[in-house]
């Protein structure tokens, strides 16, 4: 197969293609289990294979994909023809940043292949968790597991040949209950990534057991709690909501394709402009953010991106100052040319596709906030005069240029004069992105820092779902409107 792929790549080069690459996925298998109120509603195994072909011709991209490999030449011809027509409407011819031709392999760390774990063992795990969640006050209980294992063979016309095997394991649990008016409240546990691997062993049964009782207790507290007040307070974001705040208002805002207008038809743009790099005070000096694709235990680490560029640890915001973006080969060239200065020194290695039948685009890797020096959660709370601690997203809505946001969380704990006073329900907060990050007044120490994963980040047309991560500490922001 590899030989045939290389022959086709050479053939298209002979027809005038400036660049050709192929992602051949010999297999991608997935396994999803969902238990809802004790019912195994979903036990699904999935398998797919195929190739995706990307052709650059006269400054325009063409792409073609199929699971049917019987007419490989026809697929390459389709991709080439798509590029040929696209080349009829080009305003800024695509150029790719330089990279080395690489021959390499990558395997995500995995001690126990989840696909070798018997289904009965997985069902028993879910059943056990479900029984632990089946407590007074609980109306709905949901736990699920998802596993993915795939091999991606990347070959391009510049001489790269990279083989990757990636394994992922995800699991969550949630309970909901009703108040006396029949309104619903939820509490969710999405475990942090501990250890250095991401196979079956990363699903820690003891951790789920510890937290099952906690989320039931907290959900029952929320059911009978008072409504969140509508006022301005300091908000203290725990990692289960801090990761999403980071994701939506730093991660997406700093995807270079969004900044350059490539997502305007759907996902939206960014308030960030090319002039802002090196100048915009994105946040307070306590804020340092990075795109780190080298964390071993997170799905935002992948060895080499789908441009064939090695994974990197890229500084995005340095002590509040905007310095970097989430980038791939095409966008850095275009950005530097438009800005007439070298903002980006080569690709940041963040171009990824969700499957063989989608084209790579800029995706978050692990968008992390460095831990700070403001102590533990208790220490931050003790220094908060009038605040609210928030945890776990319930709703999230962000402006089309990521300039403003509105989040709802599952639970809030009011803080008065350094003491946690009571639980409130239906907490929400909102803000304008730059103002909000500049109100960052405390960043927790490493004891508060957790790696959270995202297994369903959507972007692009045709739409792509991507897995990634966020390493985040507890953070406090001042003068935030809550309760609207």
């Amino acid at each position: 197969m590899l030989e045939k792929i290389q022959q086709q790549i050479e053939r298209l080069k002979g027809l005038g293609a400036a660049y050709v690459d192929t992602r051949w996925v010999p297999f991608e298998e997935a396994n999803y289990l969902l238990m809802w109120n004790g019912n195994l509603k979903n036990a699904t195994s999935a398998r797919e294979s195929g190739v995706g072909i990307r052709v650059l011709y006269k400054g325009a991209w063409g792409f073609s994909a199929s699971s049917d490999l019987t007419d490989l030449a026809g697929l390459y011809d389709k991709a080439f023809d798509n590029a040929r027509v696209a080349a009829e409407r080009v305003t800024f011819p695509v150029r790719l940043a330089e990279k080395d031709a690489i021959t390499a392999t990558f395997e995500s760390p995995c001690a126990i292949n989840p696909f070798e774990v018997p289904l009965a063992e997985k069902v028993a795990f879910l059943k056990d968790i479900d029984q632990q969640l089946n407590q007074p006050g609980v109306f709905q209980r949901v736990c699920d597991m998802a596993f993915v294992r795939k091999q991606i063979i990347f070959v391009d016309s510049e001489g790269s040949h990279i083989e990757k095997t990636i394994t992922e394991a995800f699991s969550t649990m949630q309970v909901s209950g009703l108040d006396d008016q029949g309104a619903t409240y939820e509490r969710t546990f999405r475990p942090p990534r501990r250890g250095d691997t991401r196979g079956w062993e990363s699903i820690d049964k003891a951790l789920f057991s510890e937290n099952a009782a906690r989320i039931v207790k907290e959900m029952n507290q929320v059911r009978v709690a008072q409504e969140c007040p509508k006022e301005d307070r300091s908000v203290i974001l725990l990692p289960n909501i801090m990761y999403l705040q980071t994701h939506e208002t730093i991660g997406h805002a700093l995807e270079l394709d969004r900044i350059l207008g490539y997502e305007l038809a759907f996902a939206g743009g960014s308030f960030v402009t090319l002039e802002d790099f090196g100048k915009l005070q994105y946040g307070s000096p306590r804020l340092t953010a990075r795109a780190d694709a080298t964390l071993p235990n997170s799905p935002g680490s992948f060895g080499y991106d789908d441009d064939g560029v090695p994974a990197q640890n890229t500084l995005l915001i340095d002590k509040g100052l905007l310095v970097g973006a989430i980038t791939g080969r095409q966008m850095v060239e275009e950005a530097n040319a438009i800005a007439k200065r070298q903002i980006f020194k080569g690709s940041g290695g963040a171009n990824r596709a969700t499957s063989f039948y989608r084209v790579p685009i800029e995706r978050m890797t692990n968008i992390n906030i460095d831990p700070g020096q403001d102590g533990t959660l208790d220490e931050i709370v003790s220094k908060t005069e009038k605040g609210i601690i928030l945890d776990s997203e319930r709703s999230w809505s962000i402006g089309s240029n990521r300039e403003q946001f509105h989040f709802g969380t599952e639970i809030g704990w009011l803080v008065e004069d350094g003491q946690v006073t009571k639980v409130v329900r239906n907490p929400t907060y909102k803000g304008a992105t730059v103002k909000f990050w500049n109100s960052l007044s405390a960043v927790g120490d490493p004891s508060t820092w957790q790696v959270k994963y995202v297994d369903n980040c959507g972007k692009g047309q045709p739409n792509q779902i991507m897995q990634l991560g966020h390493g985040v500490p507890v953070c406090r922001f001042d003068h935030v409107t809550i309760g609207e």
């Binding site: 004790g38 019912n39 080009v90 018997p118």
Partner: protein, 462 residues
């Protein structure tokens, strides 16, 4: 092609029966094309031909599935999938209810929404469409974005309970054009949904774009004060809100799981304005309908709200099985929702809307970006305006507002605050390109005015 697909499904059924497996087979084939524009270039031109086979095995109250992306030449792989699903089901846990394996009483085929000329529209035609829609509107600063997404979609079903098959084939196109200022960051849009090539009308799209671009280029943008406004929603915003209603209002499964703002005793009661009539109508071809559901139930027009009075919850077979209800023919990829037009015959276009006399400021919001549910039990949603909002002044002038956020209950948005609905309606394409192709549209009035809604955030720039 149809006969080949059905032949293979019958062969797989025979294989399963021979092995003593009880299975249902769901075949999905898409031939998808997407031409994507950004910065006035074609940023991506792609096609995908994918065949998915979903095999669900049953054993008493146990159920398990195997999903393959495969092709018609891989019969052995499909048979292995049947064996895998049958193997998995032995280790599954029994449900507390009996899942229904449908028995198709007769074979059914529907290709009424298939138009070969749209399914096979050429690269050149799609490019020409965009060139016409944007002719003369692009500048060095105003750039074209958008998509022309089109393709064909085939679904076929069989199971071991019956030799009969179901077969659905559609073609569709979803067109979005966006003109955006590269430095000021304003953006306006016009969209179209098509089930046949003859539905495509790039000149109409151009007219809408030109109208909005003129205002965005000439009118001074402004941050509008927070507070209460009379708001006219365009079709995109309305369709999105109806879509959310589909999720957290009249879906029976959501009700039983505590995720609805309606209750069982809401049936027969007035929930919304008497101007609100919402029907699931599988005879409206613009919605790419299912005239039978996946269990073989013949679908008919299904009233949901009549004059604001709630008529019925919808029940899928799965939810009906779990909660001991009667299925209502809603085991489908999507409903065919039709929100009827109202009595306002004089507002057929945005130009008509702008010309209407008014006594106070009216905010026009064509599109709500990133809507989400803040509180399902109260029907509270939130989202931000996008793509060409206008502030219509009493003196007839038009302002361009920066984007705003609204956070309101659907009970308000479709309740007594509704002032009027335009008589003119259109199919708004709500297809998502997540996963398998599933062409979907909701028919909504072109404009709905809702009074006294609060703006909770107002941007200070684009």
């Amino acid at each position: 092609v149809k006969e080949r697909i059905l032949h293979i499904l019958r062969e797989l059924r025979a294989y399963a029966l021979d092995k003593g497996h009880e299975v249902a087979l769901f075949y999905h084939e898409e031939d998808s094309y997407l031409m994507r524009f950004a910065n006035s270039s074609i940023s991506l031109n792609t096609n995908e031909h994918l065949i998915r086979l979903e095999i669900t095995a049953f054993s008493g109250r146990k159920r398990a599935s195997c999903e393959l992306i495969t092709d018609l030449g891989k019969l052995d792989e499909m048979k292995q999938g049947i064996d895998l699903a049958a193997q998995m089901v032995q280790h599954a846990q029994p449900l507390t209810y009996q899942p229904t394996v449908p028995v198709f009483a007769q074979s059914f085929a529907d290709e009424s929404c298939y138009d070969a000329s749209l399914a096979h529209i050429s690269n050149e035609d799609r490019l020409q469409y965009f060139n016409t829609a944007s002719a003369g509107l692009e500048t060095d600063q105003v750039k074209l974005s958008g998509i022309f997404s089109c393709g064909s979609n085939t679904i076929a079903q069989i199971n071991t309970r019956s030799e009969h098959t179901q077969y659905f084939r559609t073609s569709d196109a979803q067109v979005t054009t966006v003109l955006a200022h590269s430095t000021l960051k304003w953006e306006v849009t016009a969209e179209q949904s098509a089930r046949a090539k003859s539905d495509l009308d790039p000149a109409a799209l151009r007219e809408e774009l030109a109208f909005l671009v003129e205002h965005y280029q000439t009118d001074t943008p402004q941050q509008i004060p927070l507070g209460s406004y009379d708001i006219v929603f365009g079709s995109a915003a309305t369709a999105d809100m109806v879509n959310f209603m589909n999720w957290i209002a009249f879906n029976g499964g959501s009700l039983k799981r505590g995720f609805s703002f309606l209750a069982e005793d809401t049936l027969g009661k007035k929930v919304f304005s008497d101007r609100i009539n919402l029907v699931d109508d599988p005879y409206r071809l613009e919605t790419f309908p299912y005239q039978r559901d996946y269990t073989g139930i013949l679908r008919k027009a299904f009233p949901i709200f009549l004059n604001g009075v709630f008529q019925a919850f919808t029940w899928t077979q799965e939810d009906a099985d779990e909660f001991s209800m009667q299925p209502t023919g809603h085991s489908v990829g999507h409903k065919s929702l039709v929100l009827s037009g109202g009595d306002r015959a004089d507002v057929r276009s945005l130009s008509d809307l702008v010309k209407l006399p008014r006594k106070k400021d009216v905010l026009y919001i064509p599109f709500l970006h990133y809507m989400n549910i803040v509180n399902p039990s109260k029907g509270i949603i939130t989202g931000s305006s996008r793509f060409g909002a206008l502030l219509l002044k009493p003196d007839g002038s038009v302002g361009v507002p920066y984007n705003v956020r609204i956070t309101h209950s659907l009970l308000d948005l479709f309740g007594e605050k509704v002032a009027w609905l335009s008589r003119a309606t259109l199919p708004y394409n709500t297809s998502q390109s997540y996963g398998a192709r599933n062409p979907t549209a909701i028919i909504v009035p072109k404009f709905i005015q809702v009074n006294d809604l609060e703006i909770s955030h107002s941007n200070s720039s684009y």
